[in-house]
Structure formats: structure tokens, C-alpha cells
Amino acid sequence: MSSFYETLETMHQLLRGEKSPEEVAEIFGADPNRLAIYQGFVKGHIAKTLEKNYCLLKRTILPEIWKKLVDQYFTKYPALDWRLNESTEKFPFFLQDSLSQKDLQLNEFHVELAKFEWEEVNIFNTDATIPSPTQIDQLILNPTISILQFTYPIAEFVKQIRVGKKNKWLEEKKFFEEREQEEIVFLFRNLQTYRCNFLQGNDNILFAFKVVHENLSLSQAAEATGQEISIIKQIIREVSQTGLIILPKNF
């Protein structure tokens, strides 16, 4: 084994937190305080990225528990991707696996919220190109779309938190109450603002989604529902205002 390899292996143990700066300082004959800088940087990058990508989740968790989660995630999921964001992708899975760890006080709500937040990051960064209405000749779904199903009121929670006003629902932590039926949430990037939008699936949205997804003509949709074509068209036009569906210019 080469000395180069050995040096990098020792550094690896330091950077992964497997050896303390003092232990490595003894091997290298170096200042432990300076070695600690590198250990702090490497873990700090992951900690900061988790904080950025899961900022809402962090607000629902006690600081000392968040720190434990970051420590455990860093240890159990070494970063395998050079993209920092991607290194935090597995956080929702990690939370799911940690549900049985009672001291972390986690429940499915936290896992679902983490899934939502990761999907927002993913959608913001996707390299999918959203065509403009002039570039298409038929109805299409926004190509950045992602559909998630939740048993907790995740979309409502995100909406309330982002409005930024205190309210009874948030204060009484009603969001921890499981719903009777699963909720469908659509996430996608807006063509104009480039921001990630989300919509709770209601009858009109689900209907418009089905029409476009299954490539139904307006007359087929009208026939299947017993509605006038003009009503179908109106629903699709309304849903398209959200950015979920993109209409051709001549629609």
C-alpha cells in the first residue's frame, strides 16, 4: 500500500468523522485545530444543504433532534454525488428508516413533508425544458410535473407556513392529524416564474390532468362526462392558468 493511499485513507477517516482531529494530528504530526477545519467543512456542507433543502421540516423538529438527525444521516449516507443537493436526496428514506427510533420523536408526517420538500428541489433543478405555447400543437402536461400522495395535510401545512401568519391550525399542530383519505398533490415548475408550484388535486384538476394525460379529445371528454364541450374547454383553460397544463396557442 502506498503512502499516498495511506495518507488519503487517514484523511478519509477524519473527514467521515471516524477519527478525531487529535488522532489524525498524532499520525500526521499536524495541528489538530487545522485538521478540525476540514472535518467541520465536509460535514458542514451536508448540514447546510439539509437545512436549505428541508427548511420546513427543520421548523417542526426540536434543534437538538435536528442535530442528531444530521449527524446520523451524515454517518449512514456518505455523499456519493458531486452535486451537493443530490447528497441530501436520501433524507426522506433515512427518516422513514428512523421512525422506530423513539428518541427522535418522528412520525410519518415528517417523512411526507421531507418527500414534498425534496420533490420541490428536484423540480427546481430538473433539466426538463418547458415549451412555450407557440412551440406545441396540442395540450401537454407540464414536463416537470411530479405527483405525490400524502396521508397528512402536507400541502395545507406548506401553504400556511409560507403565508407566514400564525394561526390556530398551526399552533394546535393540527397538521399532525392523519387524513381519512390520501391527498394527491401536483408539483411542477412554472413556465414564467421558474418557481416550483404545487396544487392539491381537486375534481377539476384531476379531470383536466386525466384528459391531457390520456390524450383525450375534447369531444371524447365531453362524451365520457356528459358535459358540454365548452365547459370542458373552460375547465382545461382554468387549470392551465396554474401552469400544470400547457395549452397550444390556438386552443
Binding site: 502506498s2 503512502s3 499516498f4 493511499y5 495518507t7 488519503l8 485513507e9 484523511m11 478519509h12 473527514l15 467521515r16 499520525i27 500526521f28 504530526g29 499536524a30 495541528d31 485545530n33 487545522r34 485538521l35 477545519i37 476540514y38 467543512f41 465536509v42 456542507h45 451536508i46 456518505p78 455523499a79 456519493l80 454525488d81 458531486w82 452535486r83 451537493l84 447528497s87 427546481f124 433543478n125 430538473t126 433539466d127 426538463a128 425544458t129 418547458i130 415548475r189 421558474y194
Partner: protein, 294 residues
Amino acid sequence: MVSDKSFFNQNSFHDPKRNLGFGIGLRRPHFDEIFTHHQGVDFLEFVSDNYMNCNDRDREVLEKAGRLFPIVLHGVSLSIGSPDPLNKEYLQNLEKLIEMTNAVVFSDHLSYSSAFGVEYHDLIPLPFTKEVVDHIVPRVKQVQKIANIPFLLENPSYYVEMPGAEMTEVEFVLEILEKSDCGLLLDINNVYVNAQNHGYDPFEYVDAMPPERVYQYHMAGHYEGEHCIIDTHGSNIKDEVYRLYEHSIRHTGPVSTIVEWDNEIPPLDELLGENRKVRRTSKAALRERKRASA
């Protein structure tokens, strides 16, 4: 010595890509403003890693920037010194990005940021040994093949000297540059920070670099930490760093210079102010160089 066959020979002094003027590292908070407010900016640097498989907003910014300015790319995740093979996917993405942006130069650091399959997302120093030189040289040649534009290595800052050094930092850098026929992105702040942290003369370091290999400069701010000076890219450039830059310009002649500001990013005006100061410093140094050689 640099042979005539080298890319970085006497002719490199006349290569326009070596003297693009005075640029800034374009970061996200300035995306909107830069296209209407860019007095004194001759070219832009983009951090390559942030634009590989990027979203359409970033792609639009890159395309627009490419129409207005020459573009140079600067990476942080190539991990040239890693014991692992170079990441093929990363290289393919880099190649595509160079093509898409029509970049004129690309660069990364003489360090490593991953090992044993794990990414550190930071620049970790290498031991200054012959074994490491022999390890890195063929890897640099592999990178040089991905595009027909100059590839540069940057002297990184480091807080700990790895054990087993067989040569000085200067010797290590020079040996790699010459054996791989690679250009140098000389980060003046890093020279200053390393000189303070490891007790050497930064002016001697700069003087030891063959002028024809110095193809780009970085200027940035640092922070005086408890145990050493930290290269933060998060503040104004210190006067001592300007003095070293002035000295280096007298040594190398005019070379493209980029102001980097990655943390605590200020309003664009402040960044442009720093860019103007770099330009003034360079011009003054060149006048003095001319006087001295007359």
C-alpha cells in the same frame, strides 16, 4: 523549462484568451442585474458544476451571458488528485457545458474532493510527493483531451501540509504544470493565505512561477480565523493581496483576472467596485513594468 512544443511557450503571451481583461465570477444573486449593469466587466466566470444538467432558467442566463461576454468555466469537483478514476459522467457533462457556452478556458483545483467513492464537496490538500505528481500528470492529460481549449489548474489554499512531503509546494506545482503541459490559474489570495499559514514568502512563490504558464488570476477575500487564515471568498480583497497581485502582474505581464465572491455575496455594485480596483492595480503595475524595462 518550457519547450517550444509546449502550448504555454513564448507565444502564449500573445494569446488573446490569456488576456481577456477583468472579469467577475457570476453568482445567482446577480443574474438579473448583470445584463443591464456591467460596467468594467470584460468577461464572466461560471462555476461549471452548477450548470451541468441545469434548469431552463440557468440555461437562459448562460446563453444570454455567452452573447454578451467571453465565458470561462471554473470547476470544484473534478478531483484531479483523487485515488479514484476520474468521474466519466462528470467529464462528459463538462465537455457538453464547454460546447454549450463556447467557453474559452476551463479550470479546476490542484487538490482532491472525493476518495474511496465518497464526495467531500471541499478541496482537500495533496501530499507534495513524486508519487502524487506521477498520479496526477496523466489525469491532467486526460482532462485536456475533452476540449480544444486550455485547461488550467489552480493553486488551492490549504491549512494542513500533508505528511511525507518530498518537495516544496512551489516545486510540486511546477512539476505538475510542466510534466502535463498545463496552464496555471494563479489565485493570489491563496498564495497569500498559504504563505501566512505555512510561513513562506508569497513574493518568492509568485516569482517562481514561469510567466508564460500563468494564464488567469483569481482575486478574493479571506478571513483571519482563530487558528489560521481561512480562504472564505466572503469579503473585500485585502490590501496585502493587492500588493502581491501588483507584484505578480509586474512578473507576468497582463493576464485575465477574476474577482471571486462566493459567500456573503454583496450587491453587484460592490463587486464591480472591486473589479475596478483590480483593473487600476493591474494598469499601475503594467506601467511600472514598462518603465522598468525601458
